[in-house]
Symmetry: C2
Subunit: 431 residues, 2 copies
């Protein structure tokens, strides 16, 4: 680096640390504020998103133009694109979060000790949350609102492609904070899109309590390796659906097509189908045909390839890499497994601990599967596409945690909290 570049990074570090200190003070204010005033801020932010729609769309147009020039893929461009409908849906999301019960100050447990000490466990904010994400500008609204609802401060570092859009959205959220007389330092973004900002943020263990990365495996692994701040993992999902020998055939076909094809780009989409050997001959032909008819590409093991070829269906032979690949695309790897043990073993080896499903009428097999599979969400007779905080009734979510510490599965406002114990005595001293 040149001396000038080094100086620029130093300046950025000073600004980021300043930002961290400012953020640090906000959770104490938010934790003691009434639920009503946080909700007023959220509703005012929603109104600002609608009022300032023109401004947001103009900023997004600039982002889109730059991204097009840079040659971003159509899929990425689609993620980046904002429309009046998308802005309205962000605003509605904020209003939904406002309507949810307040996650802070809840009495989680209470008991009394024989010596008369009364102990209560109550929910508190985590503190300052650093959110690092890629191109979707709506993450700015969703994540910012969830942090605010849960009394946390957030430093939101979105991808460079969406920088102008995110800044415009953040301005609306801060309008909301100001309208409710809450500290605007609760929601901030780094002063520049310099990539060095990410490294600096990951080192701010004095002021930032947790980092939540949203994005591809590469981004998340880099963050995990570099961060001095604890990271809540949100890896995307390598989800499996296992069709047990006692599955209802029609239910299996409906669920598998939905689990794979409803939306292929979300983390709860099934990527690998496991079919029990005992029913593969009877079920696989119709199952593969349904998938091919839905425009799904099949990558199968030898038995699957043989079956597909016999049915005159297009198929590729799966390679070892396929069992570890999250396609996020209309592609499904398909494997025949000897029995439920082989299915569980395959999943625990290749899965990402996100969401796994069994289709069966056999309750004992379902129980065994749900007990033995090591994942945040284990489903029976339904589609992995239900892996979603909204579908769980938890409201908006920041994502699905694939780690085991703190929160596992959907992470909504309730999961962005910690707790403390209040101990109330009448002068007790410890013998």
């Amino acid at each position: 680096m040149t001396a000038e570049a080094l100086r620029a990074v130093d300046d950025l570090r000073v600004q980021m640390e300043e930002m961290g200190r400012a953020a640090r003070g906000a959770p104490a204010v938010l934790a003691q504020t009434s639920p009503q005033s946080k909700n007023r801020a959220l509703r005012a932010a929603a109104a600002a998103l609608r009022d300032r729609q023109g401004e947001i769309l103009a900023a997004n147009d600039q982002d889109m133009a730059a991204a097009t020039t840079k040659g971003l893929s159509p899929a990425l461009l689609d993620r980046l694109k904002l429309t009046p409908e998308r802005i309205d849906s962000m605003a509605k999301g904020l209003e939904d979060i406002a309507d949810f019960p307040d996650p802070i100050g809840r009495e989680l447990e209470a008991w009394e000790r024989p010596n008369g000490l009364r102990i209560t466990r109550v929910s508190v904010p985590l503190g300052v949350i650093g959110i690092i994400y890629e191109s979707r500008p709506n993450v700015t609204a969703d994540a910012g609102a969830l942090c605010l609802k849960s009394g946390n401060a957030a430093i939101l570092r979105g991808g460079s492609e969406s920088a102008r859009s995110s800044a415009a959205i953040l301005a609306c959220l801060r309008d909301g904070l100001a309208a409710a007389d809450l500290p605007v330092a609760a929601l901030q973004r780094p002063p520049s899109q310099d990539r060095a900002a990410v490294g600096i943020l990951l080192g701010m263990s004095e002021t930032v309590d947790v980092i939540i990365p949203r994005g591809g495996r590469g981004l998340i692994e880099r963050i995990r390796n570099e961060s001095k701040v604890p990271v809540m993992s949100h890896l995307d999902g390598l989800c499996h659906t296992y069709v047990h020998q006692d599955a209802d055939p029609q239910m299996a076909r409906d669920i598998v097509v939905n689990a794979k094809m409803r939306r292929t780009g979300i983390c709860g989409a099934t990527e690998t189908l496991l079919v029990d050997e005992a029913i593969h001959a009877s079920l696989l032909p119709s199952l593969l045909r349904d998938l091919v008819d839905a425009d799904c590409e099949i990558r199968g093991d030898a038995q699957v390839v043989a079956c597909a070829e016999a049915e005159n269906l297009p198929v590729q032979a799966a390679t070892a890499a396929d069992w570890d690949t999250e396609y996020l695309a209309p592609i499904l790897s398909v494997r025949v497994v000897k029995d439920i043990h082989a299915a569980i073993d395959h999943i625990n080896r290749h899965g990402s601990h996100h969401t796994e499903a069994i289709i069966t009428r056999d309750q004992r097999a379902a129980d065994r599967f749900q007990e033995a599979v090591d994942a945040g969400i284990v489903m029976h007779n339904t589609s992995t596409q239900y892996a979603d905080g909204g579908e769980f009734g938890m409201g908006a979510e920041i994502g699905i945690s694939t780690g085991k510490l703190h929160a596992r599965g959907p992470v909504g406002a309730d999961q962005l909290t910690s707790y403390k114990y209040l101990v109330r005595g009448q002068g007790q001293v410890r013998p």
Copy 2:
């Protein structure tokens, strides 16, 4: 490093990774085992500790001899020393843990969605836990038993000084596992005391789910900085007791002396006393005399020094460093604060988020303090020495977590768990 030393580290790495893979398989077995068989293992381990007492004492004699030669301090030698009574108390600890309710497979929440999906949240083990601790050999028994009770595998890396004692204790725990037909790989220790083992363990993010360090700030900060595995922080405590202007004077005197002097070496001991300016003239003389009579050294601010000198009591002037020092010794820093806001501000700046207390008859002041102080445990009218899992009624504990993620406050068997969501459908597909 010489080529030979490098080869030794490589060999150790291979052995440690082998150990990690073996440990990895254990939680799945333990999670599916009955509570009875885990408890049988714990009781058999307690019996083995008593049966093999001679062997454990002989190993401890060797550790003590080596430590004496190395010139360890009397305090460290006392921590290291085992006696028949201490071994019996370890065994009783294991039996107490066996008697506690099983933390695994508990239904934590259950609800049904409008579409008929039934969702249950159940507790599961965390997986493989790496415990890194210093000289107390009893941590081997306590931490190993808590991990077993909660269905986790543990890799126990104690300090070199206690290596022979820890090995003898671990052998008893493994006797217990074998007696109950459970995998002995659930409880392991590194094959050598080479310090490189710690670094290797901190890098085993594929097989180890969480690291729990027990020890001084230096050890813990090094681990936090180096670890690729998430760390559950157990820093020792810089705890405060604040005597509010409306405190009952006799209660304040009793609590302060207990909070500081009952045992000075534990993390819940008060290290700094804050006294409200409004009562310092009336209360401080008797309070300081009580402390001095109990052989406590006082380090005070200007007002405290003036008061002590007027009373002819020994006192030192506190330096800025005193407000950030955890003495773990019969020394107390004492400061006069203007009001409750100044007290809260001092605590949030200098505290370690462990345990803080207010003494007052004013309920509103107590509420304000308990709400605004950022710590795992916030007490009213009682002694900070009650900061202990056993005193909370939670049974044995690994320590008091000072982090906000996952578990905060006392960490017992319940806190060594994660959860998963079970979703039960009847064929639902997502629209």
